[in-house]
Subunit: 175 residues, 2 copies
């Protein structure tokens, strides 16, 4: 059963990708991943903004940077992670899901526009969330939701300074 | 059982929201919605880009614009749609899902940063996908996936000029 999931965001570009990578970080955290490693251009504004969210909303989600995606994949392999690269060219999630839920530790790799061929070759699994063009943010959320079987939805975040009390209408927030 | 889903994207801003709204459109299409209605600033560059995707990848997904979100909600109510506003302040998806799968037609409302209070009041349901801050793109994808029970993943798009043949490694595309 999957316990720990780390996300590797491939090929981040400063300014251009700021919002999309920020969404990837927030989704990774909200849907139960423990860490995101951002490969590409080192963008400390994202780290700062996400750590602000962690401070207010709790939990121990981490943001790291890496210059070499190969090293990240290699290190995680040595630590017992299986790598799952999300790509619309891969095998359908709904057919592969049982296999993907077996490893205890998963490195989820999400790309931006163009991912090197070698990522496909080095990944343990190349998995498609629909065979259509859409969004790495959506692919990440749905993959985490399937891997954790929807149980991440009720996740509690320790040490939260802000907590939402669900409402049928309007907003209720405890601080 | 949910048959038709239309997405209402609230409060689009030209340039600033271009990529995020584009991702919302692509996700709506890939995960089985029939149409997206973009409220806010009229952005024909998005329509053009999404219609290009529809032309290549098939199906009959539509992009429309609306100046008044109230009119869109009212018109859809008259046509028998139930409206579901996705917001982290709402009731948890995993607790409400049975109820949400009952109507035949659903209008899914997704906001940007700040949504007027009246949207919460007029929506039939305010639903949270996790109680954490993340991404309307992720919320949309997960909501569609739950509403369609994952069956949207195998959706075929009629008239596609490009089709992916799933591969364990690498890319195979039929044109």
């Amino acid at each position: 059963m999957v316990g720990e999931i780390v996300v590797l965001r491939y090929g981040h570009r400063i300014v251009r990708d700021y919002r999309v990578t920020s969404h990837c970080c927030l989704v990774a955290r909200a849907f139960g991943a423990s860490k995101i490693i951002i490969h590409g251009e080192r963008d400390e504004s994202i780290e700062k903004s996400i750590l602000g969210v962690v401070k207010n909303w709790g939990g121990s989600f981490k943001v790291e940077f890496a210059e070499s995606w190969k090293k990240v994949m290699e290190e995680h392999r040595r630590k017992g992670f299986k790598s799952v690269h999300l790509t619309m060219y891969g095998l359908p999630l709904q057919k592969e899901i049982k296999k993907l839920r077996k490893p205890k530790k998963v490195l989820l790799v999400i790309g931006s526009q163009k991912v090197e061929r070698e990522v496909y070759e080095r990944a343990d699994y190349n998995i498609a969330i629909t065979l259509q063009p859409h969004s790495e943010i959506a692919a990440l959320a749905v993959a985490l939701d399937w891997l954790f079987r929807g149980k991440e939805m009720g996740k509690k975040f320790a040490g939260a300074g802000i907590r939402i009390v669900p409402q049928a209408r309007g907003k209720k927030v405890l601080k």
